[in-house]
Symmetry: C2
Subunit: 168 residues, 2 copies
């Protein structure tokens, strides 16, 4: 389950490239600096676009790292441009690409914790299903919604990516 | 995997109640009819709130039905109020509540199709991971984002719901 769903998360992260292309196309057609989009938010007490993208990346990367114990690449949240965010996404996709089924062996017996949980733990399975997956999609969909709200021309296919469909 | 993740989706759907409570509290404090929120959208070519909620429900319900073969309750998309949407969510949660591990037996050997796929099929596992889960979270997070964008006071805990945390 882990490997298949992290594979899906990796595929979703790959879709950022298309969204960023569409943002750049809108900016070019309207003559604004594309990077102004990175500061926009849907609500004053929600994260702006850049942070939504960073946190989507971190949720995937740190989720996999906590479950497998495989160290994830450090990323200091300094990106100010789409070009820098493309690099961040690429590093996370490469990290996820390096995971194998063997990395998840033994996860059933391990637990995960975070400083803010005040000493409490979650099983890897609960953490993955209740925390990693909903949080990843939260920030991924919010990044999408911020772009759509600001006129970037992307659609559901750009969100989902290619589906494994075949003739019966 | 199916039962655990549909259990999570069921838990998420249960969070709508808190979101709707918060929407009603905002409407009461500002003196507007809460149901005007249901027509609001983040982009003119995205679904309004009511439809986001309906589609989140349908993605869960029809996803489970297509994978298990268990008929899902029909819901004609006629809701115009939060009260009616609460009923819709309740029916879907009850449907998901009735699923058991046995319902998913044999899913590995079955495929799923939809009219718009022009005769193509997906394995149940691919359909679940590539289509049901990302689509569910897409519409669920968009409903959340529309509420936040319009000043409804909800936070990440209302999105995630209770976590299965315990002392080690």
């Amino acid at each position: 389950m882990y490997l298949e769903i992290f594979g899906q998360i990796k595929k979703q992260l790959g879709q950022f490239d298309k969204w960023f292309d569409a943002a750049e196309a809108l900016a070019a057609s309207k003559g604004f600096n594309v990077n102004v989009l990175l500061d926009l938010r849907l609500s004053p007490d929600q994260f702006p676009l850049a942070r939504q993208i960073q946190v989507a990346c971190d949720t995937a990367k740190l989720g996999a790292s906590r479950i497998t114990g495989k160290e994830a690449p450090a990323q200091p949240d300094t990106e100010k441009t789409f070009a820098e965010l493309r690099d961040r996404v690429r590093v996370v996709v490469a990290y996820l690409d390096g995971l194998t089924a063997a990395d998840f062996e033994g996860a059933a017996a391990r637990t995960v914790t975070q400083p803010r949980w005040e000493g409490k733990v979650m099983s890897c399975a609960d953490y993955f299903i209740e925390h990693v997956t909903p949080n990843f999609y939260f920030h991924f969909a919010h990044a999408y919604a911020i772009l759509r709200h600001n006129g970037v021309s992307i659609g559901k296919r750009d969100y989902l990516g290619a589906l494994s469909q075949r003739l019966p």
